[in-house]
Amino acid sequence: MPVLQSATGRSWQHRSGRQRLIAWFGWLALVALVVFAWQVMTRDTIWAFVADAPRQAADIGERMFPPRWGYMERLWQPLWDTLNIATLGTLLALFVAVPVAFLAARNTTPSVRFVRPAALLLIVASRSINSLIWALLLVSILGPGLLAGILAIALRSIGFIGKLLYEAIEEIDASQVEAVAATGASGAQVLDYAIAPQIMPAFAGITVFRWDINIRESTVLGLVGAGGIGLELSHSLNTLAWPQVTLIFIVILGTVVLSEWVSARVRHAII
């Protein structure tokens, strides 16, 4: 930490002059980049619409209340579908993600050079693409409906569960594996008695965590036609039925809060 000597005495400073200069230019570059990005972004913006936004917001807000409570009876079925999309999608993802995680973990993969990169690529590809985009694709391929939603959730979850699980596998205690292997256990027995018990808590935690996220994501999959409550949201938005939209928002909020509570409780019980 540099100490400056000046006429009034010694004063302490956090950084030296050179460091401050570098930091200052760094910030300047960032600000310039942001301003440039802003200008590129707003090239085609129609500012008259933007100026009108507060009035529009007030107008929508006014139309949204009160929510149309009577609409609720038509929401139970889509809500059940949403729950199914999230749960069945998570289960389906587990069947693929678990083997992929074992192939991707450095200490269990059959080949570090060939199999591991392929498994990692699968994980990255699945993780980079949002479930809505998967749903968009699947609806175009398989047609609209719950199946597209379930598969979309599963495809997105494989990467998430696979990544966290293979990291958990890589962190296991090797001495337990050695102890079981020393009894003459086969590879499958080692997996069953030495590795599986060690990753079980992590596995359960990850699964419940992902299920919680999937509930959240499956509420909007319907916007692209993949079933669930999002489908009703899409219909209500298209017909500008704002009181119904409000009710759907409330239902989504309730579901999300509930699933978060359930997942927090389960994870608390496991760990």
């Binding site: 980049l33 913006t45 917001a57 949002n130 175009s140 398989l142 199946l147």
Partner: protein, 277 residues
């Protein structure tokens, strides 16, 4: 030696277990079978309520195959202009929204930390965080598109709003976990509240804040690919159009670009985070 005789004696010793079984997942057998039954019942009912139009799925198989093979011959050129425009929008939107979101998130995050803010401020800031975090980006995007019209500005507003909740929550948690000794030491010099935050709190949370910001930059880019579906600009709009027209080779090109950018940004942010900490 009496070895064999002794072993035989051991094997027949009363009450000595000769086999081992691992303890079950749930100790009580009744609860265990009840759980299995519940899971089975759910699967039957759940799978039963999924209606699948198998003829439509059957028709879709060649289309799915066309999509998969498009990944090996992606078409970057015939929709090149649209892809470039969408990418520009996505990248600019990501950067500006992350910066704006973080600037707004810092005061909210400080306000949402229990050890720094008075109770009314704490409650207000926590409410902002909860509101921003409980809705999906795409739902917020729908509302902003309705307010300011189609285009990347709606996307910018959406991503900024979502960034505020994300960063503020994690920042507040980090501030609550501060090392109290450093905070007290600065307090003891007679520092004002502002000086206190600047010299005791900020240096401690800065590395994590930078890490979180980079992480959020990553998330915002991914989200910018999605919110285009509802008209909030970005590469998602390009992708949506390509898929709607069954132009799978262009769609594959867009997806490959997204995957590549996400991979690069993940690598860069990982490297920067390692360097900061």
């Amino acid at each position: 030696m009496s070895g064999p005789r002794q072993t035989a004696a051991l094997a027949v010793a009363p009450g000595y277990p000769t086999t081992w079984k691992r303890p079950p997942f749930i100790a009580s057998a009744a609860w265990r079978y009840a759980l299995y039954a519940a899971v089975l019942a759910y699967l039957v009912v759940g799978l039963g309520s999924v209606e699948v139009n198998w003829t439509r799925v059957w028709e879709g198989i060649p289309r799915g195959w066309a999509f998969l093979s498009a990944f090996f011959s992606p078409d970057f050129t015939s929709r090149g202009g649209d892809i470039w425009l969408g990418l520009q929008e996505s990248l600019t939107m990501t950067l500006t929204a992350t910066v704006a979101g973080i600037l707004l998130a810092i005061p909210v995050g400080v306000g949402a930390a229990r050890n720094l803010a008075p109770a009314p401020v704490y409650a207000a800031c926590r409410a902002v965080v909860a509101l921003s975090r409980s809705f999906q980006e795409i739902v917020i995007a729908i509302l902003f598109v309705a307010m300011v019209g189609f285009g990347p500005l709606a996307g910018f507003l959406t991503l900024s709003f979502a960034t505020v909740g994300f960063i503020a929550k994690l920042l507040a948690e980090d501030i609550e976990d501060l090392d109290e000794r450093q905070v007290e030491a600065v307090r003891a010099t007679g520092a004002s509240w502002l000086q206190w935050v600047n010299y005791a709190v900020q240096p401690q949370v800065m590395p994590r804040l930078i890490g979180l910001s980079l992480y959020r930059l990553d998330i915002n880019f991914r989200e910018s690919a999605v919110i285009g579906i509802v008209g909030a600009g970005g590469i998602g709009a390009t992708l949506n159009t390509a898929i709607d027209r069954y132009e799978f080779d262009s769609a594959a090109a867009v997806l490959l670009i997204i995957i590549a950018i996400v991979m690069v940004s993940e690598y860069v942010s990982g490297a920067v985070r390692k360097w900061v900490q």
